[in-house]
């Protein structure tokens, strides 16, 4: 008994010195661990994911249409079959919506070469194809632009010398890439007229330095993803057979 008392006495003598202890941070070690195939796959997690993945894969692999050829964005200079297809898709899927909401029609479509993220292979076109070509969530917007802005757009295209996909315009260059003539729907560009140009929200917000979308006369976000338009288009057509044409060429 006395020993126990001594024990507690000692403890209480010592405690005050310990009581105010703080947790002091003495050392920090930091590193990054790569998640690679040398790590084992957690079986519970994997089997939890599987049904989600299976359903997704089945849907992504469902065939929507057929492509007669393989198309890439580097098939030609200045304009390509795949780029022209993209503008056709935007026009045919977005114009009915735009017309219903505003009574106007889309005069031109403008996209960017870099926005085509994958090729379209020959054979079946699936939902997956749409995700690969257009992995981003960009939405279609229609911008009312004065002819002056359309001329700026032409300058952008001429100086860029890239196959940025567009529709509605026709641009003729000489062999040295100098502008010979630019028209919109077969007519000269009228500086004071308002044209309705469909693009996506990324480009409208100065993506790829497309500064000519501002200032604009009007702006309408159709709240319709480019990818959704592609899927809707592919569901309607049986076979795609896009071509390169003379909308942007060197003479």
């Amino acid at each position: 008994m006395r020993l126990t008392h001594l024990f507690f006495l000692l403890i209480f003598l010592i405690l005050p010195s310990c009581k105010e202890q703080n947790q002091n941070l003495i050392k920090i070690e930091g590193k990054q661990i790569a998640i690679t195939d040398t790590l084992s796959t957690h079986t519970d997690i994997e089997s939890f994911i599987k049904p989600f993945r299976d359903k997704l894969e089945k849907d992504l692999d469902s065939v929507l249409a057929y492509s007669v050829k393989a198309y890439t964005k580097n098939d030609d200079e200045l304009n390509t079959a795949i780029g022209n297809l993209m503008t056709d898709i935007i026009f045919s899927e977005a114009n009915p919506i735009f017309n219903k909401r505003t009574g106007n029609n889309i005069d031109a479509v403008m996209l960017n070469h870099g926005g085509i993220r994958s090729m379209i292979p020959k054979g079946p076109i699936t939902v997956r194809t749409a995700y690969e070509v257009m992995p981003f969530e960009n939405k279609i917007v229609v911008v009312g632009l004065k002819g002056k802005n359309i001329n700026d757009m032409v300058s952008y295209l001429v100086s860029g010398k890239r196959a940025h996909p567009f529709l509605g315009l026709k641009i003729l260059l000489d062999q040295d890439y100098n502008l010979i003539k630019a028209t919109i729907n077969g007519e000269n560009i009228d500086e004071n007229k308002t044209y309705y140009v469909a693009t996506n929200d990324y480009l409208y917000n100065n993506g790829d330095n497309m500064a000519f979308f501002k200032p604009s006369e009007s702006f309408l976000n159709l709240d319709y993803k480019v990818r959704s338009a592609m899927i809707d288009y592919f569901k309607k057509v049986d076979t795609i057979n896009p071509v390169r044409d003379d909308r942007f060429i060197r003479k």
């Binding site: 310990c18 941070l25 003495i26 930091g30 990054q32 997690i45 939890f48």
Partner: protein, 304 residues
């Protein structure tokens, strides 16, 4: 006194008594407490590993592999926190098809403790985010998004205090400016508040009111903007605040060779880290504590 601390001190005290004359100082049996912080950012719905043809990310990532790694680290040190710095959503068809349900369910299975909200987490609107909350068994923290006029009101806390092995760890969240990144129709009445001012408040609350031993900021501000150096970023935040031990960043998908050691406004070293994107890396920061007052004079050594 907290019960656990009391018991630990009692044990130490009795060891000393039995040892005899108190010749051993407290430093001699110095028992370190190790807190492990694991973190991800900008996973962007990357659930499956990248395939063999995916360029520089080939064969990297994958939630099931991350799960094994985290499990083995937890076995080694149960005093672990697992955190995410936002942009959980958007990037693979898993998000388009399931709206974030699978991302949240998996994070819950991996036992994430807290996450902050990135700009892409608004991609299905604030209602889309709210709809997935029942699948999240971890805390959502954001101190500078005011959700009071939205459905998210009361579902997001400015901070959360965790206790591991007697160490109090305060974790607060920061979101990026919504204007220009998130359409108003998606974020609705979410208000963005100045992250630097909020962080000064947060660090004071966590340090002096909550008496945290460790303060961590989960930030989706972005690491640093070379062409716009004045924009609120993790490096700017670090320099304008005190008492934050670690900023876990996101948004800029910054791949760092190692965590950055930065001086805070008091000139004290602290860490800023970010681990790229898509779940191809896991960040790990170990904090060692020593319950010995004498040692604090030596400062903290940072090994990165």
């Amino acid at each position: 006194m907290r019960r656990r601390d009391f018991i630990q001190q009692l044990t130490a005290g009795s060891a000393l008594t039995i040892g005899g004359l108190g010749l051993h100082s407290f430093t001699a049996p110095s028992k370190h407490t190790k807190i492990t912080i694991l973190h991800t950012n900008d996973v962007h719905s990357h659930i499956d590993p990248f395939g063999p043809d995916d360029g520089r990310n080939a064969n990297k990532g994958g939630v099931a592999r991350r799960a094994s790694l985290i499990e083995s680290i937890r076995k080694e040190n149960p005093n672990t926190l697992l955190l995410d710095a936002g942009d959980i959503f958007q990037g693979t068809p898993y998000f388009n098809y399931y709206g974030g349900e699978l991302e949240f369910k998996l994070m819950s299975m991996l036992k994430y403790d807290a996450a902050t909200i990135g700009n892409h987490d608004f991609d299905n609107g604030i209602d889309g985010l709210y709809a997935q909350l029942p699948h999240a068994k971890f805390s959502m923290v954001s101190a500078n998004y005011d959700f009071s006029n939205t459905v998210m009101d009361t579902h997001v806390k400015p901070y959360k205090v965790f206790k591991r092995a007697g160490i109090k760890i305060g974790v607060f969240g920061l979101g990026i400016k919504l204007k220009g990144l998130v359409e108003k129709s998606l974020s609705k009445e979410t208000k963005y508040l100045d992250p630097i001012e909020i962080s000064q408040d947060m660090s004071r609350i966590l340090k002096t009111e909550e008496k945290c031993d460790l303060i961590i900021c989960l930030s989706h501000l972005g690491y640093h903007y070379k062409n716009a150096p004045d924009i609120a970023s993790d490096l700017n935040l670090a320099a304008a605040t005190k008492d934050i031990d670690l900023i876990i960043g996101g948004h800029t998908h910054t791949f760092l060779k190692k965590p950055t050691v930065v001086k805070n406004m008091e000139g004290k070293n602290m860490l800023v880290n970010q681990v790229g994107a898509y779940g191809i890396n896991l960040g790990r920061i170990d904090f060692y504590f020593d319950a010995n007052k004498n040692k604090s004079a030596d400062g903290t050594s940072i090994i990165v």
